[in-house]
């Protein structure tokens, strides 16, 4: 049996009313999870490199619009459907029941999830640029559906999101139609063939419009402000799903348009004054700053969800950076990071929402010490942060390693250094997350907290296994990454099961992991078998002589966790971007008020006179000159 793209799309369309029908009941929700499994199986049956073409195609306004899933799209589609499945499972049990009781519409939640999956499939399987844009806009608006659900502060975040998203969409539309004007067609082949003949200025415009437009979804700087709150304040499964994959649609589109259609060689035509100031380098620097700045913003956050949201923005920078390197290693690293990020970000958000589910707060200053109460969630978050920080042996390390290697091989030491700065910031930040949530002193009101229900922990733990396995054996994923690279027209990466095999430096994660585990083994032997028996005492029975044990106010070092660092770097980021955004909005508001005043205050008859005179003057002047 082989899969068919039409069947897949049909499945996901049918899923929408099914979701509306089934979502309110527990059994129905599990059936919906099953639906995702079916979609995933169908997708798997399609196969990575087959380029399954949909039988459905339209001729719209003279453009033939069709769908074809190539290896790149397939790679993203697998992640998308899987992320949706895990999110759906997470909410299927107790979470859904309790939140429905609290007033959340599960029907809209599941419908939103399924609509998102459908929209993304439409985008990922786009067979031409019209289909691409249709998918793009659908994806943007579908995301809004999920963001609006939680109400409250989510609404403001969603409004901000949609303004950004429309701005991005309009840039893409402009680019699309400039392409049409330049190439005369919107078919991928025709565009790719026509691009080399396009003039430099037109190519600048087209490329910039596309890249900027897609970047908005990626939330690369300077469009990074919207994403963290928009994703963070969505309901748990929506947040996990959006955080895992939604923003990556921008990466997919950039890869498709900038690398596949326009082509790296053509991009090198675009430079400002010097060869070195070419578009690729500019993009790389934008990507690096996107990796750095949001990471340090994340470090400041006191809301666990926002912290993760900002990291999501930052990690997008890595992916873009790897991609614009456009060599076999870097682009593979970028694409692999998409998968890796999806897995550990989902774990982290699920863990945070598990904590919220039990304690009712995500405020990092109001948590702590939960490791003894919620050990499984702790384990999940630990594995997640190891992945996010990019430490071996989790999968985040592999993709980051590949990007570092690519940067060094491409002779970009500054980019490399900057990237590592971001990683270090990530380490600091995620430790804060873990420490303030699970470590330190347990608060009195959380003494009776229980572990999250199995319906929430199982998806997390399964994902943990995925993170570990793909960390140890990245070759499992790299196979598909290589296929995706080929679909993009890039040289595929030379991979082995354990990692990368190249003359200029090898990575074999199987060895690294084995050694690490062996080291831990030795460490455990040294610790447990030697020396005296240790006595387990109460957490708070520490050197202060039991003082903490009796205190009503627990001593948890959480607020302004990196006080020294913040003291030093605070002057460096005074929220300039937020300030700029605010300034832009208020300037805009002032202009808008002026425009309104034009209609409400000015004498319209006066304007008829002025208009007539000016127009006639223009006409006569035009005629005379």
């Amino acid at each position: 049996m082989t899969g068919s793209l039409d069947f897949l799309l049909l499945l996901s369309v049918v899923g929408v009313p099914l979701a509306a029908l089934l979502a309110p009941s527990v059994v129905g929700r599990w059936l919906l999870v099953l639906l995702y499994v079916v979609q995933l199986v169908e997708l798997a049956l399609l196969g990575s490199g087959d380029g399954a073409r949909s039988a459905v195609s339209f001729s719209l306004l003279g453009h033939s619009v069709g769908w074809q899933l190539d290896a790149l799209g397939w790679f993203f589609a697998m992640i998308t459907v899987a992320a949706a499945g895990f999110s759906a499972a997470y909410a299927a049990g107790e979470w859904g029941t309790l939140n429905a009781r609290a007033g959340l519409s599960l029907r809209w939640l599941y419908v939103g999830l399924q609509v998102n999956v459908f929209a993304m499939l439409v985008l990922l399987a786009a067979g031409d640029m019209v289909a691409l844009f249709i998918g793009w806009e659908l994806t943007s608006w579908a995301g809004l559906l999920l963001m609006l659900l939680a109400g409250g502060e989510a609404i403001a975040a969603a409004r901000r999101y949609i303004v950004y998203a429309i701005a991005g969409g309009m840039m893409v539309l402009g680019g699309l139609l400039m392409t049409l004007a330049a190439a005369g067609s919107l078919q991928f082949d025709a565009v790719a063939a026509a691009i080399p003949t396009v003039g430099t200025s037109a190519l600048w415009a087209i490329t910039l419009l596309f890249v900027l437009g897609f970047s908005v979804k990626m939330a690369t700087m300077p469009f990074h402000l919207w994403q963290a709150p928009a994703y963070a304040f969505s309901p748990a499964p929506a947040s996990a799903f959006l955080g895992a994959i939604s923003a990556r649609m921008g990466l997919f589109a950039i890869a498709l348009v900038a690398i596949k259609l326009i082509g790296i060689v053509q991009l090198d035509r675009l430079y400002l004054y010097f060869d070195a100031l070419n578009l690729r380098n500019l993009l790389a620097w934008v990507a690096v700053f996107t990796a750095i700045l949001p990471t340090f913003v994340a470090m400041k956050q006191n809301d666990a969800r926002l912290l993760l949201g900002w990291h999501g923005v930052g990690q997008g920078g890595y992916m873009l950076l790897g991609l614009v390197m456009a060599d076999s290693l870097g682009s593979a690293g970028g694409l692999l990071h998409v998968f890796n990020h999806a897995t550990y970000q989902a774990i982290l958000l699920m863990a945070v929402f598990a904590v919220i589910h039990r304690t009712g707060t995500a405020d990092l200053n109001r948590l702590g010490g939960l490791v003894a109460r919620m050990p499984l969630s702790f384990l999940a978050m630990l594995i997640g942060i190891i992945g996010l920080a990019g430490l071996p042996p989790m999968n985040g390390f592999v993709s980051k390693w590949m990007i570092y290697r690519a940067l060094i091989l491409e002779g970009q030491p500054l980019l490399f250094v900057a990237t590592v700065i971001s990683t270090l910031g990530t380490v600091l930040s995620v430790y804060k997350l873990l420490h303030n949530t699970f470590l330190g002193q347990l608060r009195l009101e959380h003494e009776t907290v229980k572990e999250a229900p199995w319906s929430m922990t199982i998806p997390m733990l399964v994902l943990c296994v995925v993170v570990f396995v793909t960390g140890v054996a990245p070759g499992l994923v790299l196979e598909y990454v290589a296929a995706a690279q080929q679909a993009l027209g890039l040289a595929p990466v030379a991979f082995i099961l354990g990692g990368i095999d190249s003359p200029a430096g090898t990575l074999d994660m199987i060895w690294v992991t084995a050694i690490l585990l062996a080291g831990f083994g030795i460490g455990a032997v040294l610790f447990y078998l030697m020396g005296g028996r240790s006595r387990r005492v109460h957490q708070l029975d520490n050197y202060a002589g039991g003082h903490f044990l009796t205190a009503d106010v627990r001593y948890q070092y959480s607020d302004n966790f990196y006080a020294g660092l913040m003291h030093r770097i605070r002057p460096w980021y005074r929220g300039s971007f937020a300030w700029a955004e605010e300034a832009l909005v208020s300037t805009f508001g002032a202009i808008a008020t002026a425009a309104r005043g034009f209609f409400e205050q000015a004498n319209p008859a006066h304007w008829v006179l002025v208009g007539t005179t000016l127009i006639t003057t223009w006409v006569m002047w035009h005629a005379l000159v």
Partner: protein, 299 residues
């Protein structure tokens, strides 16, 4: 390479590291004593300390994670040592490379941080916060140095790096080829070792030795072991990157100890910086030197 040979190497490398590390600790304490006009400890004092701590009757654990933290701290270094080539033994250095090594050395820190976090002592948390900040501070020059070296030699494989340096004698040493980076590397080394003036995270009088505050018995013993590995790793890494690695064991050890003398001597002559001053210090001169050095490498 036969698997048994490899197995022997993988066993020997951490062991050597531990022994050399003990000697380095001894040297460190001797230097401190000499600078302070003291005699200093006897030869086996570092080992005695560890044995004594392991043998203590009161072994207070604050929970599973507290223990795992120590296991990770020691185990991570044990694993890291196998990626660091020593004369005659490459271990699995070719399967990892310097970036992997760099990241593996973060595992012990993470382990320690987890353990300390479980102890629920605010002083420990403050210590960890400062330690991580210090890491951020010294890693930036360190990474600049590593990037420079990697680009200079065109590889991240430490075995290749050593081979290239040894190809032309002293003239091809990293320190000769990239003096600025070598100097920047020394700063980073100082920070990496966590000695004065960069030891704010321990600050005994202020936060009761920070991360170690709840550590006693074999928990502290584990940390002592970790310190041995840490000294060894830092100095050998520097030797590998800039001083041509070890042509033979004698030269290797001589270089490794010599490298350590510099930071040790500095350490005991200075008071400590505050956190933000430490950041300023490490982000100013070494970074500037490193970037200039990088520019020469790049061109």
């Amino acid at each position: 390479m036969h698997w048994s040979e490899l197995a022997i190497e993988l066993t020997l490398m951490p062991l050597v590291a531990f022994v050399v590390g003990l000697a380095m600790v001894l040297m460190m304490r001797k230097i401190a004593a000499r600078l302070q006009r003291r005699v200093g400890p006897p030869l086996l004092q570092p080992l005695y300390d560890i044995v004594k701590l392991y043998g203590k009757r009161t072994q207070t654990s604050h929970g599973m994670l507290h223990e795992i933290g120590i296991v990770m701290a020691v185990g991570g270094y044990v694993a890291a040592e196998t990626l660091l080539p020593v004369p005659g033994m490459n271990g699995i250095a070719e399967k990892g490379g310097m970036i992997t090594l760099l990241y593996l050395t973060m595992i012990p820190s993470l382990g320690l941080a987890l353990g300390v976090g479980q102890c629920a002592n605010p002083n420990g948390s403050i210590g960890i916060s400062r330690a991580l900040t210090a890491m951020l501070a010294y890693d930036i020059p360190l990474v600049i140095v590593i990037a420079g070296v990697a680009i200079h030699f065109g590889t991240t494989n430490l075995v290749d790096v050593i081979a290239q340096q040894q190809a032309g004698g002293i003239a091809t040493w990293g320190a000769v080829q990239m003096p600025l980076l070598a100097i920047a590397g020394l700063f980073a080394l100082q920070g990496m070792l966590g000695k004065q003036p960069f030891e704010i995270y321990v600050a005994p009088a202020e936060i009761a030795t920070g991360p170690m505050v709840e550590m006693g018995g074999k928990f502290l013993g584990g940390l002592f072991v970790m310190q041995c590995f840490q000294l060894y790793t830092a100095s050998v890494l520097y030797v590998t990157l800039f001083l041509g690695g070890g042509e033979n064991w004698i030269a290797f050890l001589a270089k490794a100890f010599a490298v350590l003398v510099i930071p040790m001597s500095i350490a005991f002559l200075f008071p400590r910086y505050r956190t933000e001053d430490m950041i300023t210090m490490l982000w100013k001169w070494p970074v500037v030197l490193g970037l200039i050095g990088l520019a020469f490498v790049g061109s």
